[in-house]
């Protein structure tokens, strides 16, 4: 199994601060996805990164895929209470059929 480790497990910050979430593996993934899950709901896809070194921006969220395609980061600038949620990274597994390997998640809480 290709494992993904996320850090930190929990992050509590004030509105307006910046934060970074990390997703690391010893395995190479063909692509990596980031999902956000709000309480009582299923995860929703935010972004997919495919190319090593790729950087994608989604408003105040910046996603980066490591050059070796083994790690990724999510940076949020000027966090807002609406950014509160569980952030999950997921790598596309090499054993096909579109299966994903999920990290354990980072719970982010942004207080006003």
């Amino acid at each position: 199994t290709q494992l993904l480790e996320q850090s930190p497990q929990f992050l509590s910050i004030q509105e307006g601060e910046n934060l970074t979430v990390y997703c690391n593996s010893s395995s190479v993934f063909s692509s990596l996805q980031w999902y956000r899950q709000e309480p009582g709901e299923g995860p929703v896809l935010l972004v997919t990164v495919v190319t090593g070194g790729e950087v994608k921006k989604l408003k105040r969220l910046t996603f980066q895929f490591g050059d070796a395609r083994k790690d990724s980061s999510l940076h949020i600038t000027a966090a807002q209470p609406g950014d509160t949620g569980l952030y999950l990274c997921a790598g596309v597994r090499t054993d096909s059929w579109g299966k994903l390997q999920f990290g354990a998640g980072t719970q982010v809480v942004v207080t006003p």
């Binding site: 497990q9 995860p43 999950l88 997921a90 579109g98």
Partner: protein, 111 residues
């Protein structure tokens, strides 16, 4: 608006009962998945299906079975529920680009 629906948001069952969790998607996706989500462990794949009547074991299939008689419907079955199967169960579907669309989840408590 694409949608994955699950039959129940909350379910309470007793040890030894047979439990059915149903999932329906309206996106004509070939692939469907069942996960359980536990604190600190993330999402773990129980079973998946890549076509009607086709199923494959995921990482933690013990104690579970599945059924996919129609393309849009994927059912998870707990033959004899046990307390260690208390969890959040999430269903997902995907097409060709690996993006998975999730249902809202079923929080199952086994007493």
């Amino acid at each position: 608006d694409v949608k994955v629906t699950q039959s129940s948001r909350y379910l309470v069952k007793r040890t030894g009962e047979k439990v059915f969790l149903e999932c329906v998607q309206d996106m004509d996706h070939e692939n469907m998945f069942w996960y359980r989500q536990d604190p600190g462990l993330g999402l773990r794949l129980i079973y998946f299906s890549y076509d009607v009547k086709m199923k494959e074991k995921g990482d933690i299939p013990e104690g579970y079975s599945v059924s996919r008689e129609k393309k849009e419907r994927f059912s998870l079955i707990l033959e004899s529920a046990s307390t260690n199967q208390t969890s959040m169960y999430l269903c997902a579907s995907s097409g060709g680009n690996n993006e998975q669309f999730f249902g809202p989840g079923t929080r199952l408590t086994v007493l």
